[in-house]
Each structure stands twice: as structure tokens, then as C-alpha cells.
């Protein structure tokens, strides 16, 4: 399967080409080139998946891990070396499908959404760069290669968030995203170095003696790696960059900040899962608590936001929390014995990528139509935008976990895994699932029903989006409708053995009831034109409402810590030392160099006889020094 290298090379070439030619290409040509390349990559990914899963299981009943291509890039001596290569196993192949599908949809969608924007070519170049980096991340054969692409993904995310670089908020948001995730990546890097130093390899699967030697430090290394993952996957308290990242173009939010990049942290934990389970189960459970808290926090905040992209952003954070929880509640590698969460997490990653991309793309159509992100500019849009309305509703039902949409199946497995871990965890996660249904339908009603902003709509009549935008919506909605029926456990499970999904109807029944209650509450509060109930609640619990609206002041706490403590107490003295002592030394160096230069410039006289005297004198001088010693 050597052709898999093309999966990385094609988008890379497309990036180089679009980046170098830039505005010399017509926008439509640049867009078409990027889209065609992504289409080819998608076909390659599907073919890879087809032939990989088609080849069947090996004698021990698992899908074999293939490395069709590998090269030693940087040897350090000993067993330690950094490789660059391609690794195929069930989860990386599953991710190939997710990334290439969503990326292709976003490429097509952007034709309509970004039409006429300045920097259209640059936009497509960055999309190609992102696609290449993300595919490289999931295909990495070792943790260091993963880190390299991890950072590349971060860079492309930075470039795309700051795409409207003349807008102040976009610049600030891109910086924030980059700094926060870089800060988390520091933990990741230290974790990698500890791991590499003590096991003597960067491989995902070191041999037993190496692991035995590193046993004491593995929990630390894995914990630090999780910090990196938490940064990328916006886990509390490192989530602050994701809502701001919505300043980027909406299709970018769909691709990077909903479907692919933000689940890199989940993928990382899944990738290291055998080590987590074997050597650091307690760290794994800590991740579960972090994920659960994040899921709850983000769901509460999502209930009161007024910017539709922010609601979706917090919903993403909350859903990623679900995936992390599912991984974290695993207690063994056997899916029948407490390893169910692994499969559930990957399943939810898959389904969530599809319906969340759909939600963002739908939001993009709405923003395109009313030129605002605020709910106050919307309401009653169902009349104007039928396709967007129906597909958005499908996605809302899916994320709320209504049978028979895809979200029901994956969320049900997560809840089942949580209940097996502890009833408390199961109860909390079920409650959050209810909250999810509530805030998603609040969003849905506020956009498509409720109080229409007639003034605005009269001035500028909303209209359905062009085909280039609605076709991806319809495609993703179809996937969302049917993806739940994929026998996911047959492909991906914690120990690689086939796992037959059977729905636990007690859990499913509870979660369905809770979801229905959430939807009903939202319907009661937001369907009608007047919202006396909702407004009344907001007034009665104004403290809580205000706190949630301001995201519980986490950003302000960060501001305080960075400005008042770090900048004032650490950075200012260090800056003084740098300015006066370090620069002073450099200035002294410059001064001395300058003076000496004046003094000795006479040597270079241009007189060749003098030159010879210097040569002879120099030679004799050296000889005398050597003789004296």
C-alpha cells in the first residue's frame, strides 16, 4: 500500500503550488485545484480504508498494523531515532475517512461561502496545508512525528483563524489560540522527551523491557502528553481559545474547530491507550474527570450564549468532553470487561465530526444570509432557507441523541460505558446529554422559529444559500442519518477484536427520555414569539445568567494571572535584566569591535610587499609561540 504516501504528498504539493502562484491564479482556478486535489485524496483515503478493512483480520483476530512506508529521519545513536512514515491501523484509517470527507465538503462549501473574498487563493492554500498536516498527524508512526504534524496543524489553525488579518479581533483570536495551545504543547513535548529518554524509543509500542525500565515515569510522561492533548482539544481550563477561534471563516470552524483538529487530543489518548491502560490507569481516570467537568461547564455556558457560532463552539467543547470521558472510564483493554469506552469514544468522534461539521456549515449559510452571528438578527428563517432548516434540524436531533440518528448510537455507548464505571458518572453524563438537547433546540428555535427580526429582514431579505453550499449540507445530513447503523465495533475496538454493539435499552431509554425532556423544555420556552418564561428565568437568576454568559469569568482570571502576576512579577524584572545586562554586554561588544576596527584598518593597506611581511611575521610569531610552549 505504498500509494498511501500520496495522501500526504498531494495536499502538500497543492499547498506549495497555490502558495507560490498565489494571486497569479484566478480565484476559481485556485479553488478548483484545491478541491480536485482534496477529492483525489478523499478517493485515496476511501480506497485505503476499503482495502485495509477488506484485507480482513489476521490469525489472532485483529486488524494488522501496517507500516507501508517508513524512513529514519534523525538518528540519535542507540535505539533512539525519529522516523517519518505512515502507519495504518483501525483508528488511523477511520480518521482518514473523517478528515478527507469533512475537508472535501469544506472545500466545496467554501466556493460559495468565500466567493469574492480577498485572499481566496491564500485561503485554499492554507486549507491544503491543514489537510496535509492533519492527515500526517493521524498517520504518524511515532510520537515525535505526531508532534511535528501536531505543531503544523497548530500553525495552519493559526493562519486560518487570522485569515481576516485586517480585523483586530481575528488577529487577537489567532494569537490567543496559538499561545494557549503552544503552552499546552510544552507539556506534550516534555512528556515526549521523558518518554523517549526512559524507554529509548519514540515508537507507540515499545517492547516490554523498555517499558519496564520506564515504568515509574510513564504516568508522568503520559500525563504531560495529555496536557498537550487537552490544549488542542480545548479541555478546561485550556479551552479559552476555542470560542475566540470562531473569528475565522465559518467553513474553517467546521473543519478545524469542530471536526478534526480539536479531536486530536482524543486521538492522542486513543493512540496511547494501551500504555494508559497498562501503566497509568489512574491518569486515564483523571482525564475522565477533566472531561466530565469540561462537558458540564461548556454545556451550561452554551445555554445562554447569543452568538450562534459561540453556542456551537461550547457545544463542541462539551462533546469532546464526552469523548474524553468515554476513554477515561475504561478499566481494561477488553471491550466486554470495561474497555467499551474506547470504541464508544471513537464512534462518537466519527459521528460528531459529521453532524458538527453539518451544524457549522449550516450556521455558515445562516450567517451568509443575514450577515450577523447574533441570534437577535435571526428568527423565523425556516421560510427563507428550507434546505438549511431541515439539515440543521437533522443535526440537532443527532446531537441531542434521538433515535435513529447517528448521535443516539454513539452517545448511548458512551453513557453505557459511564454507567459501568460508576453510576454517578453515568448520571452526570446523562444530565449533560439532557442539557445538550436543551441548548441545541434553544439555538434551533431562536434561528428558525420564534421572534423574527422583521425590520432587518425587510431591509435585506434572507435567501437560501447556493448549491455549492447546500450540497455539502445534504451530503452530511445523509451521513448523519445513516452513520449510526455502521457496525463500528467490528472495525474499531480497544483490543482490536471484533465487538458486536448491542444497545442497552435501559440506558438508551433513560437518555432518550432526558433528551426528549430537554427538547420539550426548549420548545416550551423558545418556540413562541414572546419568551416570557426564558426572560423571566434570566431575571430571576440574573447572577447565574450573567456569570454563565461571561463564561464564568475564566478569561478574566487568565487576564489577571498573566497581566498582574506573570507580566508584573516575572516578565518585568527579566525584561530589565535583558535590556540592561544582556544588551549591555552586546553593546560593549559592538563598541569594542568598532574601536578595534578603527585601530587596525591600516593593516589592509593594499601594498603587497607589506602583506608578505605580515605573512612572514605571522608565521614566525606562531612558530615562536609553539616553540616556547
Amino acid at each position: 500500500m505504498e500509494y498511501t504516501i500520496l495522501i500526504l504528498l498531494l495536499p502538500f504539493l497543492s499547498f506549495i503550488l497555490l502558495g507560490l502562484l498565489g494571486t497569479r491564479l484566478k480565484p476559481s482556478v485556485a479553488g478548483a485545484a484545491g478541491t480536485i486535489v482534496t477529492g483525489a485524496v478523499a478517493i485515496l483515503c476511501y480506497w485505503t480504508a476499503f482495502s485495509y478493512f477488506g484485507a480482513g483480520r489476521d490469525a489472532s483476530g485483529v486488524f494488522p498494523t501496517l507500516i507501508p512506508w517508513n524512513t529514519v529521519w534523525l538518528p540519535f545513536g542507540g535505539s533512539l531515532h525519529i522516523d517519518l512514515g505512515i502507519l495504518l491501523d483501525p483508528i488511523s484509517v477511520m480518521m482518514l475517512i473523517v478528515i478527507s470527507t469533512v475537508s472535501l465538503m469544506v472545500h466545496i462549501y467554501s466556493f460559495g461561502y468565500m466567493k469574492g473574498e480577498r485572499g481566496f487563493q491564500r485561503y485554499y492554500a492554507f486549507l491544503s496545508l491543514f489537510t496535509m498536516s492533519m492527515l500526517g498527524l493521524v498517520l504518524a508512526t511515532n510520537i515525535f512525528q505526531m508532534y511535528i504534524f501536531w505543531e503544523l496543524v497548530g500553525v495552519s489553525s493559526y493562519l486560518l483563524i487570522g485569515f481576516y488579518y485586517t480585523k483586530k479581533e481575528a488577529v487577537a483570536a489567532s494569537k490567543k489560540a496559538f499561545i494557549v495551545t503552544r503552552f499546552a504543547d510544552l507539556g506534550f513535548l516534555i512528556g515526549i522527551l521523558i518518554y523517549g529518554f526512559y524507554t529509548g524509543t519514540f515508537s507507540f509500542t515499545p517492547d516490554a523491557p523498555a517499558l519496564g525500565a520506564a515504568k515509574a515515569l510513564l504516568p508522568l510522561a503520559l500525563g504531560l502528553m495529555f496536557i498537550g492533548g487537552a490544549g488542542k482539544s480545548a479541555m478546561f481550563p485550556l479551552h479559552i481559545w476555542l470560542p475566540d477561534a470562531m473569528e475565522g471563516p465559518t467553513p474553517v470552524s467546521a473543519l478545524i474547530h469542530a471536526a478534526t483538529m480539536v479531536v486530536a487530543g482524543v486521538y492522542l489518548v486513543a493512540r496511547m491507550f494501551p500504555l494508559f491502560i497498562g501503566y497509568a490507569p489512574e491518569v486515564l481516570h483523571i482525564t475522565a474527570y477533566v472531561g466530565a467537568f469540561t462537558a458540564l461547564y461548556a454545556a451550561v455556558v452554551a445555554c445562554v450564549q447569543s452568538d450562534i457560532k459561540r453556542v456551537l463552539a461550547f457545544s463542541t467543547i462539551s462533546q469532546i468532553g464526552f469523548m474524553i470521558v468515554a476513554l477515561g472510564v475504561c478499566t481494561s483493554a477488553d471491550p466486554h470487561e470495561g474497555g467499551l469506552g474506547y470504541m464508544a469514544s471513537m464512534f462518537h468522534l466519527f459521528t460528531h465530526a459529521m453532524f458538527k461539521a453539518l451544524l457549522f456549515l449550516g450556521a455558515g449559510c445562516i450567517i451568509h444570509a443575514v450577515h450577523s452571528n447574533e441570534m437577535s438578527a435571526m428568527g423565523g428563517l425556516r421560510k427563507y432557507m428550507p434546505v438549511t432548516h431541515i439539515t440543521f434540524l437533522v443535526a440537532c436531533l443527532a446531537i441531542a441523541g434521538i433515535w435513529p440518528l447517528s448521535g443516539f448510537f454513539s452517545k448511548d455507548e458512551i453513557l453505557a460505558a459511564c454507567f459501568r464505571f460508576s453510576p454517578v458518572m453515568g448520571g452526570i453524563m446523562t444530565f449533560i446529554a439532557g442539557l445538550t438537547a436543551f441548548y441545541m433546540f434553544r439555538l434551533y428555535y431562536c434561528i428558525f422559529w420564534g421572534n423574527e427580526n422583521k425590520e432587518l429582514h425587510a431591509e435585506h431579505r434572507p435567501h437560501e444559500a447556493p448549491y455549492s453550499m447546500t450540497i455539502p449540507l445534504i451530503f452530511l445530513a445523509a451521513v448523519t442519518l445513516f452513520a449510526g447503523w455502521i457496525p463500528f465495533g467490528e472495525f474499531v475496538s480497544s483490543n482490536g477484536q471484533a465487538y458486536h454493539i448491542h444497545i442497552d435499552w435501559t440506558v438508551a431509554g433513560i437518555s432518550l427520555c432526558v433528551a426528549a425532556a430537554g427538547i420539550a423544555l426548549a420548545t416550551w420556552m423558545y418556540l413562541r414569539e414572546d419568551r416570557t418564561v426564558a426572560d423571566g428565568l434570566a431575571v430571576r437568576f440574573s447572577g447565574l445568567h450573567k456569570a454563565a454568559y461571561h463564561r464564568f469569568y475564566i478569561d478574566e482570571i487568565y487576564q489577571f494571572i498573566t497581566h498582574r502576576i506573570i507580566f508584573a512579577c516575572i516578565s518585568t524584572p527579566v525584561a530589565w535584566f535583558d535590556r540592561h545586562v544582556v544588551d549591555g554586554f552586546m553593546n560593549l561588544l559592538a563598541l569594542v569591535t568598532n574601536k578595534v576596527s578603527w585601530l587596525i584598518k591600516g593593516i589592509q593597506s593594499g601594498n603587497v610587499q607589506r602583506y608578505s611581511i605580515w605573512v612572514l611575521g605571522g608565521a614566525l610569531g606562531i612558530a615562536i609561540v609553539l616553540l616556547l610552549i
Binding site: 603587497v608 605573512v615 610569531g621 606562531i622 609561540v625
Partner: protein, 477 residues
């Protein structure tokens, strides 16, 4: 005597002689029409030559002519690198050679350059001091002709005279040193020499005098004074050849001789190099910051670069040898790119080489300005360009052998060098100019040369297999 080894081990030199003879015959026989393709013919010949010899044929070291000539795989690698550099120089020399006043003697240019290359190849593979000296002279004498190639220009003629006089003086001292060596040891074979070396005062004197000859070629302080005048006066293509190819060969030969022949006197030559490195890097930097003429400026830059190369020599280890070759390769890419830009601008503006002329270059010729910037960044050793990696390896090689203070001094000097390299960048990007260099499109040959150099600057550091490949052979040093 068995001569069968000539063709098996001396294949590179024999092929090069073939190229020289072919160029000579072409020059004689081709008519007015055929001469138009002289450039292409020579470049294709060089390409074939490089393709045929780039990978060493033999994995073992072997001596022929009773040990006068020694084949080594690592030497073969160096020869290939030099040949590639020569090809790039040919590419960049094309617009200059096509001019009215040089067109008729372009054949001489090729033959002279290739002759010096042949001399360097023999110098690299010498196994005997006389062989070595012959190679050195074969590399020096045609070089003087090249420096004075524009002989009706005062600058060029003066540069040629200064070069040949300085070269003669250095060669004289070197021969004097070699005669002492013969007198005290009774042999001139590299192989037999170490047994007779004891570190007696006369031998120390001969070591220093011998070193003068190569120190001159490498333009190390205090044997560097000819450099600036010659670099400034010589045609730019010749200057770039002189600054890279000639230095690379000399640095390699010096390391081999010091490590192999002067092994019993290691402490002496290490001290000698210590002094010379500190002087070269520091003095060259001090002079470089004052220069207004870019060719003079790069002359001093190349002196300090030679000082850095000596850091690899002083380590005396196989790792140092790898770093040296890698450094030469990277330095070649960057320096040829810089000289390529200077040369093409000089051609299109009738001789503008002052730093002030480069003010505002970015606004009119952005690609050239960016190429120059990347080349200078690489020379200064800024990551992620190749120069950073090559400097890193050199420093590591010297550091591992315990030269901590020396490496520290070299590090401080890289900071100073950054200042003057950035002066040029500042001129191109920031300084205003009412009459900047007009926008022009350089010819295909120059551009090909520049692209090759740029590819080197960008890729050599990242593609680790190159360093590893060299390393594989260097352990056979």
C-alpha cells in the same frame, strides 16, 4: 610496476582530464555557429562527469604509483562536491562570458577553471608532499590567470598581480617547510612521515611554514591580506569560485595532512589552529563591518567562514571530518547564491557592487533580494536554513574534543557576523533609494544556478540523509 590501479582508482581525475581535453578541442575546432553552444556543451559534459563520479566506486582506501596517489572514498565525496560547485559557477558565469569583450576567450575560462579543479583533485588525493605541492601549484597558477581574466581592467590586473605574488611567497615558505621535513625525517611519503616526527624545533618551524601555504589558500589570518583586494578586482564568477571551491579543497587537504601526517605533533598544530581560528574569525568580522563594497564584504565574510571550518579541523575526529565536508557543502550553496546575485546585478547595472546600490532592491527585484537574504541567513547560521545545521555540527565537533572556550569565542563572533549580514538585508528591504536597481529579468542559466543554490540552502539541513551519507564515508578517513 603495476599500472592497473590507474583506471580503477584514478577514474575521477582521468575523466576530468577528458573533459578538459574535450573543452580544449571544442574551442579549437568549433566554428562561429558551434561556439554558440559552447556553454551548453561544457555544462552537459560537467553534468555527465558529476553523474559518473558522484558516488565513490570503492569502499576502501588504496594507494597507487607506490603511494604517491591515494584514493579514499571520503576524498571522492569532496571531489564530487567541488565538481558540483564548479558546474554552478559555470552556470552563473554565462552572462559575463557572453559579453563582447570576453566572448572570444570563453574557452580559456573553462579550461583554466577545470585545470585548477584537477589540481585540487590531485591535492586531495596526494600521498606524497611533492605530489601535493604539484597539485597545489596546478590549482594556483591558472587561478592567477583567472583573477586577471579581464586583463584590460586595472582592477582585475592588479588583483592578478597581488594574487600571484602572494601565492608565490606562500608557496616558497611552504616548500621551505617541506624541505625541513625531508631533512629531518628522510621521507616525503605521508605514510612514512609520522614515524620520523618528534616535535623538534625544526619540525615545528616546518609545520608552521607548511601551514602558511594552505593558510594562504584558505585566507586565514594573518595570511589573508591578499583576499579583499583580489576578491574585489577579480571577475565575480572567479571570485565565487575562489571563495568556495578553492577553500573547500584546501580545508579538506589540510585536515587530512594534519590528522594523518602530523599526528605525533597534534598538540602543536592544535595550538596553532587555535590561534589562527581566534584571529581569523575575530579580525575578519571586525573588518567586515566596515565594508561598503559587497565583494570586499564577502571576502571578509569568507575569511571568517574559513575560521569556522578550522573548528572542524582542530577536532581531528571523523565526526569533525563529516562536519567539515558538510560545512563546505552548505557554505558552497549559500556563498554561490550570494555571489550569483551580486554577479547578475553587476552585469545588468554595469558594475554596481556597492552596498548603497542595493538600497531598495526588494521593491524592484524581489526574487533576487529574497535569494540574497536567504543566502546571508544561511551564512549567518540562522535556523532553519542549512547554515544553522552546519555551524551546529562544527561547534559540536570542536566542543566534544574539549575546546569549550574556543567554541564560546566563535559563538560571540556569530553574533557580530549576524550584524553585518543583516546590514545587507536592511539595505535591500528597508533603506529607501530614489534610483534603485531597475527591474530586470536575469537569464535562464543564472536563474538555474541560483535555484540550485537556494534548494541547497533550504534542503541540506532538513534532509538528514545527506549528513548521514557523508558520515558513512568519513569514518573511513
Amino acid at each position: 610496476m603495476d599500472y592497473s590501479g590507474i583506471f580503477t582508482y584514478m577514474y575521477s581525475e582521468i575523466a576530468l582530464i577528458g573533459v578538459i581535453v574535450a573543452a580544449l578541442l571544442y574551442d579549437l575546432a568549433a566554428g562561429e555557429k558551434g561556439r554558440r553552444f559552447f556553454h551548453h556543451a561544457v555544462c552537459v559534459l560537467m553534468l555527465l562527469f558529476i553523474a559518473g563520479t558522484v558516488v565513490p566506486y570503492h569502499k576502501e582506501t588504496a594507494g597507487i604509483f607506490g603511494g604517491m596517489y591515494i584514493y579514499s572514498p571520503v576524498g571522492s565525496i569532496v571531489k564530487s562536491i567541488l565538481a558540483i560547485g564548479t558546474l554552478i559557477v559555470f552556470l552563473q558565469a554565462e552572462p559575463w562570458l557572453r559579453r563582447e569583450d570576453t566572448r572570444f576567450k570563453r574557452g580559456e575560462f573553462y579550461v583554466l577553471v577545470l585545470s585548477t579543479l584537477l589540481g585540487m583533485d590531485f591535492m586531495i588525493s596526494a600521498g606524497h608532499f611533492m605530489m601535493f605541492f604539484l597539485g597545489l601549484e596546478l590549482a594556483s597558477v591558472p587561478m592567477a590567470c583567472l583573477v586577471a581574466f579581464d586583463k584590460y581592467k586595472g582592477n582585475s590586473a592588479e588583483a592578478g598581480a597581488k594574487y600571484i605574488l602572494s601565492a608565490l611567497f606562500a608557496s616558497g615558505l611552504m616548500l621551505y617547510g617541506i624541505s625541513f621535513l625531508y631533512g629531518t625525517t628522510g621521507t616525503l611519503y605521508f605514510e612514512d612521515m609520522p614515524a620520523g616526527l618528534t616535535g623538534s624545533p625544526l619540525q615545528i618551524l616546518s609545520l608552521v611554514f607548511f601551514f602558511v601555504g594552505l593558510g594562504f589558500k584558505l585566507s586565514l589570518v594573518p595570511f589573508h591580506l591578499w583576499t579583499a583586494d583580489t576578491y574585489q578586482g577579480a571577475p565575480t564568477a572567479v571570485t565565487s569560485y575562489l571563495s568556495v571551491i578553492s577553500k573547500g579543497a584546501a580545508a579538506f587537504a589540510l585536515m587530512v595532512i594534519l590528522v594523518k601526517v602530523f599526528a605525533p605533533m597534534t598538540e602543536y598544530w592544535q595550538l596553532m589552529l587555535y590561534i589562527v581560528i581566534v584571529l581569523s574569525i575575530t579580525v575578519a568580522n571586525i573588518f567586515a563591518i566596515r565594508q561598503k563594497n559587497l565583494k570586499r564584504f564577502l571576502a571578509f565574510s569568507s575569511i571568517s567562514q574559513a575560521g569556522y571550518i578550522m573548528l572542524a579541523v582542530i577536532s581531528g575526529t571523523p565526526y569533525g571530518m563529516t562536519s567539515l565536508i558538510f560545512y563546505v557543502l552548505v557554505y558552497m550553496a549559500a556563498n554561490l547564491a550570494a555571489f550569483g546575485v551580486i554577479g547578475t546585478i553587476e552585469q545588468h547595472t554595469h558594475g554596481k557592487v556597492s552596498m548603497d546600490d542595493y538600497n531598495g532592491l526588494y521593491s524592484t527585484n524581489p526574487k533576487l533580494a529574497v535569494t540574497m537574504t536567504l543566502a546571508l541567513f544561511s551564512l549567518a547560521g540562522i535556523p532553519p536554513f542549512a547554515g544553522f545545521f552546519s555551524k551546529f555540527f562544527i561547534f559540536a565537533a570542536a566542543f566534544e574534543e574539549g575546546f569549550h572556550v574556543l567554541v564560546f569565542i566563535a559563538l560571540i563572533n556569530t553574533v557580530i557576523s549576524l550584524y553585518y549580514y543583516l546590514l545587507v538585508v536592511k539595505a535591500m528591504f528597508i533603506n529607501r533609494n530614489d534610483s534603485p536597481v531597475a527591474t530586470f529579468r536575469s537569464d535562464g542559466s543564472t536563474r538555474l544556478g541560483l535555484v540550485l543554490c537556494l534548494a541547497g540552502v533550504l534542503a541540506l539541513g532538513i534532509v538528514s540523509s545527506i549528513f548521514d551519507g557523508i558520515n558513512l564515508y568519513a569514518f573511513g578517513m
